[in-house]
């Protein structure tokens, strides 16, 4: 019989995955919505590829980076909403009466979200390949992309968990969605930063960390091995992971101590 931290994390991860899988809206939404937006934008914005300096002739390849980040943002909602429900229903209180270690609660919750995030990433990749996108960084780039998706999903998942633990409200977690939407749209998601014509928008996209996450994925798809884009993307993702995991661990200690 397995016991200890690993078993606790396994059990809670499995619960997180099963619970999400039993709510079709939570599975279908994060999978389908980013793909729909990809379809709409890649059709509507194809004319952009005629702009001088546009980095590729295929807008689909250019836009393929967006679902990876958008899907991770959805995982924030899922992680946060599920955890908030655990708080609201008293599940977390009952858990705190057991020998379950707080770190297992967080790791289990995030483990489930990361697994689902990786499944999403594989689906987006498959759609890209099915449509004929040539992956400039090759097979190794696909592995790096999956590692990056892991990191980004973990970071955003922990952010959702932090919000849930601080507020204990699913509505508060859902209320973050418009904020994430703003971060996504005020970025280089639809056009390279150097081609943004309006100065203030270009500046906002430049200081927006989401731009660097998107550009990291995009570089693997259309440019090959761009050290600067990869370094910036992985650095931003790592900072988000460290900050959000630290904050959510603290919030969990406070919550379970009550």
């Amino acid at each position: 019989m397995r016991d200890g931290l690993a078993d606790q994390v396994f059990q809670l991860s499995r619960r997180s995955v099963v619970r999400t899988a039993r709510q079709p809206a939570n599975v279908v939404g994060p999978l389908v919505f980013p793909l729909l937006l990809l379809a709409v934008n890649s059709g509507g914005l194809r004319a952009e590829t005629h702009l001088p300096g546009f980095p590729t002739r295929s807008f689909f390849a250019f836009a393929l980076a967006v679902p990876f980040i958008q899907g991770a943002l959805f995982s924030t909602m899922n992680a946060g909403t599920d955890l908030a429900r655990d708080i609201q229903t008293g599940f977390l209180n009952r858990l705190s009466l057991t020998p379950m270690r707080p770190v297992a609660v967080l790791a289990g919750q995030l483990g489930g979200i990361v697994i689902l995030g990786l499944i999403q990433a594989v689906v987006y990749l498959s759609v890209g390949f099915a449509v004929g996108v040539h992956f400039a960084s090759g097979a190794a780039g696909v592995v790096v992309l999956l590692a990056f998706s892991f990191l980004v999903t973990l970071g955003f998942g922990a952010l959702g968990a932090f919000t849930a633990l601080r507020t204990g409200s699913g509505e508060a977690v859902q209320g973050m969605f418009p904020l994430f939407f703003v971060f996504l749209f005020i970025s280089s998601m639809n056009i390279p930063r150097n081609l943004i014509g309006v100065t203030w928008f270009r500046d906002a996209a430049t200081i927006n960390p989401v731009s660097y996450l998107i550009e990291c994925v995009r570089s693997l798809v259309i440019a090959g091995w761009d050290g600067e884009a990869l370094a910036l993307g992985f650095s931003v993702a790592a900072v988000i992971v460290v900050v959000s995991v630290t904050l959510s661990a603290r919030a969990l200690r406070t919550r379970m101590g009550r």
Partner: protein, 255 residues
């Protein structure tokens, strides 16, 4: 008379709820502004692509879309309110108390229109503040608002039909997703002739395309195919009126 008094009561309650609750008011106000900023600001260089011909500039080009989008989403957000009313049991009590049930749908539609009027006023002020240019003498701009009013009615009636049938907040995606798709399968970012491939085919048969292209022609001061655009919008409104009234019967039958 009973129809109007019921409609007035429902509309007043809905507007009171929306304008006294920030979490209901702000999304409807801020989302169109946000889309306007993201599209007109971020994508302005699209105006430099070969074949893009809209002398008033990309801000005006996107303003027409965002006005129509705000009108349609004003109806969608009101639909969420209807679903919430029926999920909480208020809708059921309303059906018992109201002497004329059609007035309930009319009331929600009036509320949707008033709510959108505030949004579009703010949107217009912001658009002119950032230097949007309007062609002609500017009077044609009211043609765009007229089209948007009809689209607002069509959207709220669609949303009401779904909400009255499902009577739960889980109706949200069912209301929103088709609307999102129909709007974005129109020529949102570039004129129709610049769309290529499958999206061109979809946009050509999409009724919103006709409305959007005429809306843009109003801003340019050279209205084109106004009759076809108003007829399309009116046909949508009439079709969804029947859809909403059948939804009302469904809610009545559910007790």
């Amino acid at each position: 008379m009973r129809l109007l008094s019921v409609a007035q009561g429902v509309a007043w309650r809905m507007l009171h709820n929306v304008f006294t609750n920030r979490s209901l008011l702000l999304p409807g106000l801020l989302f169109p502004l946000f889309f306007f900023t993201a599209f007109a600001g971020g994508l302005s260089n699209i105006a430099h692509t070969p074949g893009f011909d809209f002398p008033e500039g990309y801000t005006a080009f996107q303003f027409a879309f965002v006005v129509l989008q705000s009108a349609v989403f004003g109806g969608v957000f009101t639909g969420f309110g209807i679903a919430r009313d029926f999920e909480s049991g208020f809708g059921r009590r309303l059906l018992l108390a109201a002497p004329h049930h059609t007035g309930i749908v009319l009331g929600y539609a009036i509320a949707s229109l008033c709510r959108w009027a505030v949004t579009v006023a703010l949107l217009t002020v912001v658009a002119f503040a950032v230097g949007m240019k309007v062609g002609g003498d500017g009077v044609d701009l009211f043609g765009l608002y007229g089209l948007a009013v009809v689209m607002n009615a069509a959207a709220v009636l669609w949303a009401a039909g779904v909400a009255l049938r499902l009577r739960t907040m889980q109706a949200g995606p069912v209301i929103q997703l088709p609307v999102f798709l129909v709007l974005f399968f129109a020529p949102v970012y570039v004129p129709l002739p610049l769309l290529k491939g499958w999206i061109h085919g979809v946009a050509t048969v999409n009724p919103v395309t006709r409305v959007l292209e005429t809306g843009r022609s109003f801003i340019a001061g050279t209205p084109t195919e106004t009759g076809a655009a108003f007829a399309t919008a009116a046909a949508l409104a009439v079709a969804f009126l029947l859809w909403a009234l059948r939804g009302l019967r469904s809610a009545e039958n559910a007790g």
